[in-house]
């Protein structure tokens, strides 16, 4: 096989395979972890029948969903009904293409970079594909030809336009701090400036991180912003009419979104694969004495899982927002805050 094919075809395909496989594996057990943690929060046991500690529960769930009858309502718009779930999952997975999981070859001195690709408009890439995902929900909700689904789709659209704006603006803050839009470049900037961007220009970085966190939860339709599927109001919202594997795809999409938003947040604000306090000498044991690539992967994954835990924790503790409260929070609080934050960050950057 010629070298050019290995470099531009085989290696990327292998990397993509590994990343997608890992994400799917994490999703499978994230569902179990969520049920276990929710059980703990609500003082009950959680799933414990299938396998030791319920470890085989996700496999049983998947098997059940796979063999379930796939129902398409007679009056549904068939192509949109089929396309909807795919449009939720695919963009979330595509975003992983630009997330740096570990240090680039310039740091490790190795052959390979620990990311699939590094494009100079990475941040915009993340934003653009994150917004495509909402079409899956809107299309699916509309195509189901059911009132509950339509209301879920509507809510999703409204939620999207309220939270996309503060999210876009708050991402300008790490962009200003790093001076580049490449995600790898942003982590490298944190490496060179020796500070995680969440803690740069305190409290500006922290505020940006907070706004991104809230907007990210709203974007992935998780509690307390899970209005599009609100069980107690809309039966199951946009996926009321879905069953079997198509329903599972929506589920998969939600968790893939959770993971990708966490990964991007970790990359932009929490130093990506950098260990904590990389500049403090006596804390260098946080590199764990491992090769930099392995330590980087460890810290990235560790931060990612902390983030996912926070997601689940939120679900266990916060009540759902009412619809008008959610819009008010987005338009009247987050957008002005994000604007002010961008202005202040720009000022501070120029003045320092």
């Amino acid at each position: 096989m010629p070298q050019v094919l290995i470099d531009h075809l085989l290696m990327p395909v292998l990397k993509i395979g590994v990343v997608v496989g890992m994400v799917m594996g994490v999703i499978t057990y994230l569902v179990l972890a969520e049920r276990k943690i929710l059980g703990f929060i609500q003082v009950r046991v959680g799933p414990n029948r299938v396998g030791p500690w319920g470890l085989l529960q996700p496999i049983a769930d998947v098997a059940k969903l796979l063999v379930k009858e796939d129902v398409i309502p007679r009056r549904a718009v068939k192509w949109a009904f089929v396309l909807g779930p795919c449009l939720v999952v695919a963009p979330a997975l595509v975003i992983f293409a630009v997330v740096p999981f570990g240090p680039p070859s310039t740091v490790t001195g190795g052959e390979q970079n620990w990311f699939i690709t590094d494009i100079n408009v990475g941040l915009l890439f993340v934003l653009a594909f994150a917004t495509i995902g909402v079409y899956g929900i809107i299309l699916g909700g509309w195509a189901s030809n059911s009132k509950f689904s339509l209301l879920g789709g509507l809510r999703s659209a409204a939620q999207m336009i309220s939270y996309e704006v503060p999210q876009g603006f708050t991402l300008v803050v790490p962009l200003l701090m790093a001076g580049t839009m490449s995600l790898n470049g942003i982590v490298m900037a944190q490496y060179e400036q020796q500070v995680w961007f969440a803690f740069k220009f305190l409290p500006l970085g922290l505020l940006a991180f907070f706004i991104y966190l809230v907007a990210g939860i709203a974007e992935s339709n998780r509690n307390p912003f899970d209005l599009p599927e609100a069980e107690s109001e809309l039966v199951a919202g946009f996926h009321t009419e879905y069953s079997g594997m198509r329903f599972a795809l929506f589920f998969l999409g939600e968790y893939a979104n959770m993971i990708v938003i966490s990964a991007v947040a970790v990359t932009l604000f929490l130093g990506g694969w950098l260990p904590p306090f990389p500049n403090v000498g006596w804390l260098s044991f946080l590199g764990l004495g491992l090769p930099p690539a392995i330590a980087g992967l460890f810290w990235f994954t560790f931060k990612l899982f902390c983030f996912l835990f926070v997601y689940i924790w939120f679900r266990g503790t916060f009540p759902r927002y009412r619809f008008d409260q959610l819009m008010e929070l987005g338009w009247k609080w987050l957008i002005p805050l994000a604007f002010a934050n961008v202005l202040l960050t720009g000022l501070v950057k120029i003045l320092l």
Partner: protein, 177 residues
């Protein structure tokens, strides 16, 4: 294989150009407003792909983010909210037809003018690398920023004021007096 490597970009151009045109025709011919909106979205995405083929990554992704993500979601929202029935056969926009014809002719004239007058060599030399004032090669987004905020600062600011005026006007019109 050799053919694909050499002409891949051209082939992709035709795929996306045909896609954009077909979707654009769909926008004005389909009867169900939901289908029209989805066609418009497909058209936007195809145009973004065309930008990408010209190495305008910034423009392409902003196109997806702003038009695909923001404006079309708003359109779909409004369509789902106000009208779920098929448009009646009567032509809703009939009274605007003369104005539309005039505008269309003007637009075609403008496109023809640009098409016949552009500097082929300059366009062929452009993609990929851009040179900033200090003479260092910078990326695509930097090039856009230099152009907007240095060379065309005044027109850019005037355009933003116009947009603000439109927004304030819409709010004033929409408010119940």
């Amino acid at each position: 294989m050799e053919f694909l490597v050499q002409h891949g970009a051209d082939l992709l151009f035709y795929v996306f150009a045909v896609g954009a045109l077909a979707a654009a025709v769909g926008v004005i011919t389909l009867r169900n407003p939901m289908y029209c909106a989805i066609s418009l979205l497909v058209c936007f995405l195809c145009v973004a792909a065309l930008f990408l083929l010209r190495h305008a990554e910034f423009l392409a992704l902003v196109q997806v983010f702003v038009y695909g993500g923001g404006i079309m979601v708003l359109f779909l929202f409004v369509i789902m909210l106000v009208n779920l029935h098929r448009l009646r056969e009567s032509s809703v926009f009939g009274e605007y037809a003369p104005m539309a014809v005039v505008l269309a002719v003007l637009l075609v004239a403008l496109v023809l003018f640009v098409f016949l007058n552009y500097d082929q060599q300059a366009v062929a030399a452009a993609p990929g690398a851009f040179v900033s004032v200090e003479g260092q090669v910078v990326g695509n987004s930097e090039a856009v920023a230099w152009t907007l905020y240095r060379d065309y600062l005044l027109p850019f600011e005037i355009a933003s004021v116009f947009l603000l005026v439109a927004m304030v006007g819409a709010v004033v019109l929409g408010r119940k007096s």
